[in-house]
Amino acid sequence: MSDDGLLTEFTATIELDRYEDIRAALFDPNLSRSFDKRSYEDGNIRSGIVSIAHGATHRARRRVENTQFRADVLRLYERELFPKVMNDLLDVLIDSERVDLFPIGELLSVVLAARRAGIEYDASSLDDLRTLVRHVDAFSQGAAILDAKDPAAVRALVREAYAEFERQFVRPAAATRGALIERLRRGETAEDELPHDILTVLLLHREDPHMELADDARIVREVATYLQGGTHTSAQTLVNALDLVFATGDAHPVIIGRIAEDTLFAQRVVQETLRLRPTTPKMKRRAEADTEIAGRRVPKDALVVLDIVAANQDPRLFGAQPDQFDPDRAIDASVQRWGLSFGGGPHQCPGRAVGGGFPVPADFHADADHVFGLVALELQAVARRGVRPDPSAAPERDMRTARFTRWLHYPVRFDASRGSALRT
């Protein structure tokens, strides 16, 4: 421990790789996501945000923010709003036979992520969307700073991105919402009339001391967290899904055909991708107090590393050849097709159903209320446009991070003859 009370080194490092042990760790209230403030929190996207808050502050934030993930809104997004937005954007973005899929995935995902975050932007402006995606890239590097190869450069980049993001997107939105909240407090409007987004509920509840939101910068970071979480993971999952499909070699045209025809199959591809390529391959926790996990003593201030990739490939739970890509695989009834890729317990990703949808029914038959998730719709849309590998250009992984599931560029080709006419 340093003079200023910050944790500078861990008392022990404990790595867990069994599914049951990791699940137990995720639900253990003694394990937090709070780390050394100088290397992890200060000056980057993690400072004071819900993802690393612990105890009363974390509970207060989640209680308020999770109300913005509503089933009726998910269905409205994926059945009405998103298909039109997505296809209009794809008409513009697939402007040649050869394109880079990763930025397209980000642009598709940022539209609704920005709406849920509650920032002021023009959804029809490619300039606005590209600026947001640029910020998301910076925030994503901040989110993965524990695995960054140059943390100082990341902190500088993220600080600059926050300043611009706040000025252009958050302050105008906060002014509009602040005025509406004033009207609510004067009894001139009802709470239901307020925008349904993260920024609005943060402003509405910021006076609750447990929220710890007196500092405007904290609100900016919280909104940025939701923008980044809703954009980056979806885009990476879209690209990883196609990478796994293309890796099947000669079988890939058949799989692309099935994706194009069957939305529930597209969703299984997405959930299988999430299992094999988790956004955070190794989650990290810190012991806030002495605890015990699966019979192992974990001392206070120990680093606990959760090997999600290993847990997601347990053959007892995910069947034979668990390292293979098989969207039709039968799984144990006690687990989800995405394994532990969204975490679990209090810090579970709240946007899981937005990107990945509801669990795929074991009999592969979806009822009328089923939510497929936005990434399945994106994957199906590009499949219907005849996406295929680009043999003349190699994909490029994001080498700024040790996380093997991140891409920077993913060149693909499309059939020039198959465009928006294939929409349904």
Partner: protein, 72 residues
């Protein structure tokens, strides 16, 4: 009185508390774990209200099986 079997999958629940909003007597958030836990009154609640709870859960975590063994 009909009795339904009401469960919340803790691996799916994100604690959005939609179930608590619709049926306050039937569900409670376990703050330490961040998940909803069904309470005894849930099993005797009106079937239409329970169906609304199922449909409103943002993650598909709530399952209700009615007295005849049918999933709502």
């Amino acid at each position: 009185m009909t009795t339904a079997h009401v469960t919340v999958d803790p691996d799916l629940c994100i604690g959005s508390a939609e179930c608590v909003r619709i049926l306050p007597s039937g569900f409670q958030i376990d703050e330490a774990r961040g998940v909803s836990v069904p309470q005894p009154p849930a099993s005797s609640a009106d079937v239409d209200v329970l169906a609304d709870v199922v449909r409103s859960c943002p993650t598909g975590a709530v399952r209700v099986v009615d007295a005849h063994g049918n999933a709502l």
